[in-house]
């Protein structure tokens, strides 16, 4: 695949060019981590559809363009412009990133309780890189994929959240990632969220665009949970219709920790989100819910890799998809139960609603089990709206379009319920309504 080699070379040069300007280059551990990642990236190159994990997802749309990393934004938005993007009314802190760079002027960090460190990863790496050494790169092993390696090679800015032992945040931390032109922009945000033993927090990640410039986001979030820590992690990808987006979330869980995530993907031309969860100590549990909406020309891809390495952990994954127009959705959910991870309870569900003739769903749940005393299951469905349900609503005087919209909303709400941030749920519901109204909600094939 010569066409694939060329972008690798392009990125290699880019890494070489920006390397001197990256923060923390005097910290040996970080420099060697970046070097390893670069080496791995160059050796591995970009995946092709021959790679099992990329079987249904072509990278053509991502690699066809040259993306300028961390480009200076053409305009500096004012605080008022940003307000529309805020989701959590009761956020205790906000960090705003434009084209991958943290803008302190737009961020608000006042009033954080003691025991909470929150700010830009860039400045943390410049001021006290050794502080981050025990965590950065721990959950996201660079060997995992090309995009993880690329992100690691380019570690520059992102959010840095550290919550001390036993500290509980009163409200969500909101992280807003915006992209804007001119030109084709690339952002490689790198986030590190560390919750020490018994800490509790809610983190909202929101990816959006200020204009309809084509951009490429390759975000990576590492989450490390200490014993008994609890994190609610809500993520919304709502970028412009020309955006390409890939995000990797790596979670490492300690004893009795709880990770609850809601991941929603509505925007972008091409988007892929991956969750890699490792329950490394007993009694840990995770719940990941997700919703994806794909309309005309959109491709959305979700990959889950849930690893039960030790006994007595629980995981629940539930993803729902709504397909409109010529939308395409890919779902790949893997649960892996290692040898001796007895008493594992793992369940995964994926339901897809196809509302158009030309949509396509490729779903692939997987169970890999090497222990016997387990309860594991997965279920997948693909279908359209039930005619009986439509009839029920219509017989009560509700118009066909409204009835369909109501049913779609109900379908999505099951997933959104898992999120405790009201503003987040409300935003997704609004976006869903808009998408359903815009993309003609097609009826049953019989009509």
């Amino acid at each position: 695949m010569n066409a694939m080699l060329e972008p690798v070379e392009r990125y290699r040069r880019l890494i070489d060019a920006v390397a001197p300007s990256l923060p923390g280059d005097d910290a040996g551990w970080l420099t060697s981590q970046r070097a390893r990642a670069t080496e791995h990236f160059v050796r591995q190159g970009f995946p092709t559809r021959k790679d099992e994990a990329w079987r249904y997802t072509s990278l053509e749309r991502v690699l066809e363009q040259v993306w300028a990393p961390n480009a200076e934004p053409g305009l500096q938005p004012a605080t008022a412009d940003i307000a529309a993007f805020h989701l959590a009314k009761d956020a205790v802190a906000r960090l705003v990133f434009i084209n991958g760079r943290c803008l302190p002027g737009l961020s608000s960090l006042s009033g954080l309780p003691a025991g909470v460190q929150l700010g830009s990863l860039h400045s943390a790496l410049e001021q006290q890189p050794e502080r981050l050494a025990p965590w950065l790169g721990q959950a996201a092993q660079a060997g995992v994929s090309s995009f993880t390696a690329l992100n690691t090679a380019l570690i520059d800015d992102g959010a840095w959240v550290h919550i001390a032992v036993g500290t509980k945040l009163a409200g969500p931390v909101e992280l807003l990632y915006l992209t804007t032109g001119p030109g084709t922009v690339a952002a490689h945000p790198r986030n590190l969220v560390v919750l020490e033993d018994g800490a509790e927090a809610t983190v909202v990640e929101h990816y959006a665009s200020l204009d309809d410039t084509a951009c490429f986001t390759n975000s990576l979030t590492e989450v490390l949970l200490g014993a008994g820590a609890q994190l609610e992690h809500a993520r919304l990808q709502d970028e412009s219709a020309a955006a390409r987006h890939i995000s990797n979330v790596f979670v490492q869980q300690g004893h009795s920790s709880h990770y609850r995530a809601v991941g929603v993907s509505v925007g972008g031309l091409w988007s892929r989100s991956e969750y890699h969860n490792r329950m490394q100590q007993t009694q840990a549990s995770c719940e990941i819910d997700g919703l994806y909406i794909a309309g005309d020309a959109q491709l959305t891809d979700v990959h889950l890799d849930i690893g039960h390495a030790v006994p007595a952990c629980t995981s629940r994954e539930r993803f729902k998809g709504i397909l409109l127009g010529r939308g395409r959705a890919v779902f790949d959910g893997r649960i892996r139960v290692e040898v001796d991870a007895q008493k594992t309870d793992a369940q995964l569900a994926n339901d897809n609603l196809m509302l158009s003739r030309d949509a396509e769903v490729d779903t692939k749940p997987q169970l890999e089990i090497f222990a016997d005393d387990v309860k594991c299951s997965h279920g997948t469905t693909v279908g359209q709206l039930e005619p009986e349900q439509l009839f029920y609503l219509r017989s009560r005087g509700i118009g066909a379009d409204d009835a369909r919209r109501m049913l779609c909303l109900g379908f999505a709400t099951e997933v959104l319920q898992a999120c405790s941030v009201d503003g987040f749920r409300a935003r997704v519901e609004t976006r869903l309504q808009q998408r359903l109204a815009a993309g003609a909600v097609m009826g049953n094939s019989g009509e």
Binding site: V339, N352, E360, K375, C376, G379, V382, G383, M442, S445
Partner: protein, 481 residues
């Protein structure tokens, strides 16, 4: 161009004639695989030129391929040049009497309640000409001929019914299909051919077991079943008793063709030598099975009980081409000791109103590893397609493994597709319930496992189902506790 081709062909043929003379004397080809071997096999079978050409094309394609590695199985690399690709049945030395047969094998026969004469046949002991099943088979043949059903060895069909073989052979599983299918096409030595004419309901269950000279069908078996419009046929392959077999590598190909309103039911019980406790020896069973529901309302149903072989690697599939076609797959796969199974199915929905059902039950005991791998594809034109998939795995022992890898591709909104998979061990409460009623642990497990597999067993022809149940209990003996 064509003249040149002709010249080359002649040259090759001459070369082969020389090889042929030496080979026929030994009746067993020396290990190794090249064009000469393919030619020799074809010559021994007295095949026409078109057949040889097809084999050679397959061989050339095979030579360019590498062995696939994606299956969830592990084995030492196979040396394809160390295998002998043809041995005439008579050339195989068998034990002279049952006394020479492995007592363990005999013990299993006794448990399965197999009559003495049949035990001899299965163990490869030379049997008398008056042996019952031979005469039974002759009676069967007469009855089938009256109905117009052709049921014979595929090499015989190549000679006697070339027009049918030419039309259908390779039309479902092309020689380019996959590595093992190419290998099979190049070197297959024998197999079964069934042709059921229009509107005929085959008067009996067909079984390889009753086909004369079928005892040694060889390691590269090729089966072709054609069901003409409105016909019905049920075919049984294998048997519950462990077969004595020296071949380590088996790469069979099965092709089914169902025309309008035809119905084919294909049942397999596979119980080949699984190797010893350490996983030494044992059969590698790499099979390509595919049914083509070509006609409207055609129906193909696969039922398999897989308990043997060190490695089982097969995916009996259905291409649902005709409108209203139905595909079914019912499977029980048991792995114990060091056995590995990677099995499942593909259901390709092309026609309108096509339906498919998949029920897969995997049981892993000891160090056994079991994987379900399946594909359900609903193409844009498959209006109102329906699929239901249920994959359950049962784990017995903390070193066993069970995997599920379903692929689901839907491109039509009117499709209704459901996939469900579960993995668990036998519930302690279930065991306790049975044991508190006086059942031994082994009996309790056997009962629960049989219940777990019931959905599949009920699809087997009746006598077979009873045998399969017994087989399952025997297979799991010693796996518990």
């Amino acid at each position: 161009m064509s003249a040149e081709k002709q010249g080359v062909k002649e040259l090759i043929r001459r070369e082969y004639q020389q090889g042929f003379v030496t080979d026929i004397q030994t009746d067993t080809l020396p290990p190794g695989l090249d064009e000469g071997v393919v030619r020799a096999i074809s010559a021994k079978k007295q095949e026409p030129d078109w057949m040889l050409d097809w084999r050679l094309a397959a061989f050339r394609h095979w030579s360019e391929q590498t062995e696939p590695e994606w299956a969830s199985v592990h084995h030492a690399p196979i040396d394809y040049q160390s295998i002998s690709y043809y041995a005439a049945p008579s050339a195989r030395p068998g034990p002279a009497s049952l006394d020479e047969v492995d007592p363990k094998l005999l013990e299993t026969y006794a448990k399965l309640g197999i009559p003495l004469e049949e035990q001899k046949a299965l163990a490869g002991v030379a049997v008398d000409a008056v042996f019952d099943s031979v005469s039974v088979a002759t009676t069967f043949k007469k009855k089938l001929a009256e109905a117009g059903v052709i049921f014979c060895a595929i090499s015989e069909a190549v000679r006697e019914h070339p027009e049918l073989v030419k039309q259908y052979l390779g039309s479902v599983v092309s020689y380019r299909d996959n590595f093992f299918a190419s290998l099979n096409a190049a070197v297959f030595s024998d197999g079964t051919f069934v042709y059921v004419p229009k509107g005929v309901r085959c008067p009996m269950e067909l079984s390889t077991y009753f086909r004369i000279n079928s005892a040694n069908t060889g390691q590269f078996e090729r089966t072709l079943i054609i069901a003409e419009e409105g016909s019905h046929v049920s075919y049984l392959e294998g048997c519950t008793a462990p077969m004595r077999d020296e071949n380590q590598l088996h790469a069979a190909v099965v092709e089914l063709v169902a025309l309008d309103d035809a119905r084919i039911k294909y049942s397999t019980v596979q119980n080949w030598y699984p190797g010893d406790e350490q996983g030494r020896g044992g059969i590698y069973n790499f099979v390509t099975k595919r049914g083509d529901c070509r006609g409207a309302r055609s129906h193909i149903s696969w039922t398999q009980v897989e308990t043997g072989s060190a490695i089982t690697w097969k995916y009996p599939s259905c291409i649902l081409r005709g409108d209203g076609a139905v595909g079914e797959f019912y499977s029980v796969a048991v792995t114990k000791g060091r056995q590995q199974a990677d099995t499942g199915t593909k259901m390709i929905h092309i026609g309108r109103n096509t339906r498919s059902t998949i029920v897969s039950k995997g049981i892993s005991a000891g160090h056994g590893s079991n994987a379900y791998r399946g594909l359900v594809r609903i193409t844009p034109k498959a209006e109102n397609a329906r699929n239901h998939t249920q994959c359950d795995s049962l784990l017995i022992g903390d070193r066993s493994a069970a995997h599920t890898f379903p692929y689901i591709e839907v491109r039509n909104p009117s499709a209704k597709m459901e996939h469900e998979a579960t993995t668990s061990k036998i519930g302690d409460d279930q065991l306790f319930y049975c044991r508190s009623r006086g059942l031994s642990e082994e009996d309790a497990v056997s009962m629960i496992v049989n219940g777990f597999c019931k959905e599949v067993f009920k699809e087997l022809p009746m006598e077979f189902a009873a045998e399969a149940q017994k087989l399952l209990s025997v297979s799991l003996e010693g796996a518990v506790g």
